[in-house]
């Protein structure tokens, strides 16, 4: 009880960015994570080079298309999307993100051309720009969240690391899932490395959330309320489902599979992480929006 109560007010907007934005972040993690991992894997694992090239480019193209689709669908003036290229405002991370993702899409199309034309020289040339554009496509959403001054818990450096870890989780999980579902196309050492990436990135991302739960509430009244919403409030159901599926299950199953060399565990850990990632992103997106700002 605060001893004061609002007795007359207008209806306030609550959830402004909903599931379309969560889906945007989720799909983008898979697109950029799988493509960046594929680029590195084609340099590292010569034996399974074709697997990473084909699945990496196709995963990236499909999921970046989903990202762009939900982005445009979320606009209340979707047919004015072109304004972002003709009236750009470069202090906005939204603008920077749109430009970077557009360049990333162009690069993916070049990668696709290199794949179908079997042009190794062209594939090698996209390595550095692919990693650079993949990196910035991954983190620009952290910039948007950082610029959202109204939502104090979204802090750029932490969000940037969280986005990169999401991409690592999504990329490694996507490859483990494809490998597992197609009956095991990868060599054992590659599966082991992918399981390590999944386990470590899930563990670190989970640790960041535990850190937020323990410490963010000490920063400000707003952060305290957001954390309360996250762990016991109206978005808690999304958060705890996401926490279990993205952090606990993959860490345990990837660890077991590394130990026992039975990579079916990693397959289930990967599928769990891919589903859970959406929930945890959704919860983190909604929690600060449940509080009144004025």
């Amino acid at each position: 009880m605060l001893g004061a109560e609002v007795t007359f007010d207008v209806a306030l907007p609550k959830i402004v960015w909903g599931w379309l934005v969560s889906t945007n972040m989720w799909a983008k993690s898979i697109a950029t994570g799988s493509f960046m991992l594929a680029l590195i894997a084609t340099k590292t694992y010569q034996d399974n080079r074709a697997f990473f090239k084909i699945s990496g480019v196709l995963l990236a193209l499909v999921f970046i298309a989903i990202t762009l689709l939900v982005t445009v669908l979320d606009l209340h003036h979707m047919f004015r999307f072109w304004h972002i290229f003709f009236y750009p405002h470069f202090t906005s991370a939204v603008t920077l993100g749109a430009w970077v993702v557009s360049a990333f899409v162009v690069l993916l199309l070049i990668a696709f051309w290199a794949l179908i034309s079997q042009n190794e020289k062209l594939w090698n040339r996209i390595f550095v720009p692919g990693l650079v554009l993949g990196f910035f496509s991954t983190i620009y959403t952290a910039g948007i969240m950082g610029e959202a001054t109204a939502r104090e818990v979204w802090v750029f450096p932490a969000e940037m690391i969280a986005m990169l870890l999401s991409a690592a989780i999504a990329g490694s999980a996507a490859f483990l899932a494809i490998d597992g579902l197609m009956g095991g196309m990868l060599k054992e050492n590659i599966r082991k490395h992918l399981s390590y990436i999944l386990m470590v990135s899930s563990g670190l991302y989970g640790a960041m959330f535990i850190g937020e739960i323990l410490f963010a509430k000490m920063h400000s009244e707003f952060a305290h309320h957001v954390i309360r919403q996250l762990i016991t409030g109206e978005v808690a159901i999304y958060f705890w489902i996401g926490f279990a599926l993205t952090f606990i299950v993959p860490v345990v199953l990837a660890g077991v599979s590394i130990q026992t060399k039975k990579y079916t565990y990693s397959l289930f850990g990967a599928l769990s992480a891919l589903v859970g990632l959406w929930f945890v992103k959704h919860a983190w997106l909604l929690a600060p929006q449940t509080l009144p700002l004025s």
């Binding site: 605060l2 004061a4 109560e5 959830i15 909903g18 929006q289 509080l291």
Partner: protein, 211 residues
């Protein structure tokens, strides 16, 4: 010139004339507002106090909405007003996510972001904002913050209890309150139970994003 607003909360009697005149002047649709007056009741009977708090865009010098708008639909005018270009807006709602004062809404008819512009169209032709004209107690004081002889500058100079909302966010608002309090200006200092209360239903809108 830097136009600013000051509300003397000791003068406001919660009559809503400002909110009504704003709605009429700017054709603000139902369920949307550019200026609203919030009632907050504090204490327990018989020791109770009612706060009336007019809330509108703060026209920040360091406006998060202007910074995050991807197409410059939100932009500064030379007189310091943060204005909106409805035809340029793409409806991404980033400004709503950035504004810590909840001052921006998506117009359900035009689908563009909109907010208080300090009645920029009236100021352009030498008139005062509609809410200033309508206020029966002259609680709204409007003028040029750069002019030391303006009423608002003198008011700011003469009063020591000047407050702005959320100063810690470094938005540098140009909207001030005199004789305010934490209960009046901090949204987390009061409960906001949903449901029917004094005259109407206090609630949240659910038509914008969807969970």
């Amino acid at each position: 010139m830097r136009l600013g607003f000051l509300v003397d909360l000791s003068r406001c009697m919660g009559c809503m004339a400002c909110a009504v005149s704003c709605k009429a002047e700017n054709n603000v649709p139902l369920h949307s507002w550019r200026l609203r007056v919030k009632y907050i009741d504090e204490g327990e009977f018989p020791d109770v106090k009612r706060h009336f708090v007019p809330l509108r865009c703060n026209h920040c010098d360091n406006a998060p909405c202007e910074r995050i708008c991807p197409v410059s639909a939100l932009h500064y005018l030379p007189n310091g007003i943060v204005n909106v270009d409805h035809d340029r807006c793409i409806g991404c709602a980033s400004c709503m996510m950035a504004c810590p004062y909840n001052a921006i809404y998506l117009d359900p008819i035009t689908n563009s972001a909109d907010k208080c512009t300090y009645c920029a169209h009236r100021i352009e032709v030498g008139m005062l904002p509609a809410c200033v004209v309508a206020c029966p107690t002259h609680a709204n004081i409007f003028g040029d913050l750069d002019d030391p002889e303006s009423e608002i500058s003198k008011y700011l100079k003469e009063h020591r209890d000047v407050m702005v909302r959320k100063p810690e966010l470094n938005t540098k608002p140009k909207h001030f309150y005199v004789r305010g309090s934490t209960v009046a200006l901090d949204p987390l200092a009061s409960e906001r139970p949903e449901g029917f209360t004094l005259f109407t239903e206090v609630k949240f809108l659910d038509h914008i994003g969807g969970e």
